[in-house]
């Protein structure tokens, strides 16, 4: 399980490898908040390599989204697999995030 942060123009792209769960959510949160502190405002979390997100992982996404919005920025999500897509739809979390099928689409017009 690891998080890789890369810059694509002015967007910070975060790759989540494996799972986003109670055991590693704080690490993701800290990494994103560090970038926010440095001045970045556009964030994209790419779940192409993510199998599972537990409820505390979802909580961190919402909390990050709120914090980024408070700083005038935006958090987008991309590449949710079918299970994750269903989870977001069933819990109505899809109404809280801008979710794209691919990284490219997410980056369009960011």
């Amino acid at each position: 399980m690891s998080f890789t942060l890369k810059k694509n123009g002015d967007v910070v792209v975060v790759d989540v490898e494996g799972q986003l769960i109670v055991g590693n959510r704080q690490e993701l949160k800290q990494k994103v908040l560090d970038e926010l502190e440095k001045g970045d405002r556009k964030f994209l979390i790419d779940f192409a390599q993510t199998g599972y997100i537990d409820s505390s992982g979802l909580g961190v996404l919402v909390s990050l989204s709120k914090k980024i919005r408070e700083h005038g920025g935006e958090l987008r999500l991309a590449n949710l697999n079918d299970d994750l897509q269903t989870l977001f739809e069933l819990t109505k979390l899809d109404t809280l995030f801008q979710i794209a099928d691919t990284r490219e689409r997410a980056l369009e017009g960011f």
Binding site: V22, D54, S55, S56, L58, G59, V60, V62, S63, L87, L90, T91, K92, L93, T95, L96
Partner: protein, 427 residues
């Protein structure tokens, strides 16, 4: 017999007597340590015995708690007042010096040493160490002896003897610490059990909605205290309220939110029959707590009215609620809003048709659907629903049993990684 031989025999006899005394002392100490777990009491007795054997009229045993930078006296002999604690870095205290240097400090009566006033003539200070399984000696304290009745310096034999006794005292200190930790652990375990019992007692029995509804529920927390809950309310002679919630965490913090949600829900449910209004009031009650803890709750609240033949519900992010009818596929009563704590918008509600005595309201948490077998595959929603449909005409309690049977078959010996909750209601 020559004079030399006589002297030699005399010396040998004296040495034998000394050895006897030393061995006797070691036996006595073993016996003292063997029959008591009170370290302070044992330390005082041991110190008295060892002082007598080496002829010291003033002595003290100090211990150092893990993480502390002080030596605390636990026993003393021949001092008029209680000894104060000593800083480990105190340059004048000879026990602290032995502790710092991890080595015995031997001061002869004629040596010119500045000390803190404890010394009278010769001094012997020995560190107390304990060597555990890891093999690395751990410093636990020091023993200090002075004011010898003979006025002579401490011999190498005295140093060896006191060092041997210090080792025994070290074992005793370590044992006492282990006993204390074990008692502390037992106390914690007891508290966790109490919290678990308390949490389970908050959950109502299905009987609270009888006879207008037949309900059965089960919660199995993954940890001793969990974040899943349900609630049942008898609202009017024909309307029954059913709630299921899953706090986004486990342990004490989640249990606290769960308890808050349950008590607030009990108050708000009695003031309105509109599920959306009830969730909105609940959100208002919990907003601050949820925002402070970064937790959220997936929460469904439905009101089944058998007279109006309706089921009205509000659903903040709870994925697994179904209306199972005698024919056709179970209807998912999906989330209408995001989980409580994720958004400030007022929850909405929806109404579906309800056939009294025939329809089943089935609510569960993702602990059940996500439970893994030994191949790492989740149980899945389909299998839960199939089991419910197969036993749909059975009493609610039987349906709950069958689902948990299927769950056990699926998971085998693998312990649950999330709380498991299922509620079945017929009305």
């Amino acid at each position: 017999m020559s004079r030399d031989l006589e002297l030699e025999i005399e010396n040998a006899a004296r040495e034998l007597a000394e050895r006897y005394e030393e061995i006797n002392l070691l036996y006595t100490i073993s016996e003292i340590l063997g029959r008591t777990v009170s370290l302070d009491r044992a330390a005082t007795t041991i110190l008295r015995e060892v002082s007598e054997t080496v002829g010291a009229r003033r002595a003290a045993i100090y211990t150092c708690e893990a993480g502390s930078d002080m030596l605390d006296p636990i026993a003393s002999v021949g001092v008029p007042d209680a000894l104060p604690s000593v800083s480990l870095s105190d340059p004048r205290n000879l026990a602290a010096r032995a502790f710092r240097g991890r080595h015995s400090v031997v001061i002869a009566p004629e040596d010119d040493v500045t000390d803190d006033g404890f010394r009278i003539g010769a001094v012997l200070a020995v560190p107390i160490m304990w060597t555990g399984e890891a093999g690395r000696p751990e410093l636990l304290g020091a023993v200090s002896l002075t004011n010898r009745s003979t006025g002579a310096a401490f011999s190498a034999g005295d140093v060896k003897l006191v060092a041997a006794i210090a080792t025994q005292i070290g074992s005793a200190i370590q044992n006492a610490r282990l006993v204390r930790e074990s008692i502390e652990q037992q106390r914690l375990l007891q508290e966790v059990r109490l919290a678990h019992d308390l949490q389970m007692k908050l959950l109502p029995s299905g009987d609270v909605v009888a006879p207008q509804a037949e309900a059965s529920a089960r919660v199995v927390p993954a940890e001793s205290v969990g974040g899943d809950f349900y609630h049942l309310f008898r609202l009017t002679p024909s309307a029954t309220g059913v709630m299921i919630g899953d706090v986004s965490s486990h342990g004490y913090r989640a249990a606290l939110i769960m308890a808050l949600a349950m008590s607030a829900a009990a108050i708000h449910a009695q003031s309105t029959l509109d599920p959306a209004a009830m969730l909105h009031a609940l959100l208002y009650s919990l907003r601050e707590e949820l925002s402070n803890t970064e937790m959220f709750i997936t929460l469904f609240y439905g009101v089944v009215d058998r007279q109006n033949r309706t089921l009205q519900y509000a659903n903040a992010g709870h994925p697994h609620v179904f209306c199972c009818r005698p024919t056709g596929e179970p209807e998912r009563l999906g989330a209408l809003d995001p989980p409580l704590g994720m958004s400030d918008q007022a929850p909405t509600s929806r109404t579906v048709k309800w056939t009294p005595e025939k329809d089943l309201l089935v609510l569960f948490t993702d602990g059940i659907t996500d439970a893994l077998n030994d191949a790492g595959q989740p149980m899945g929603e389909r299998r839960v629903l199939d089991t419910i449909q197969r036993y749909a005409t059975e009493p609610a309690a039987v349906i709950v049993d069958r689902v948990f049977d299927a769950l056990s078959q699926h998971t085998g010996d693998i312990p649950p990684r999330d709380d498991l909750t299922l509620v079945v209601l017929r009305s």
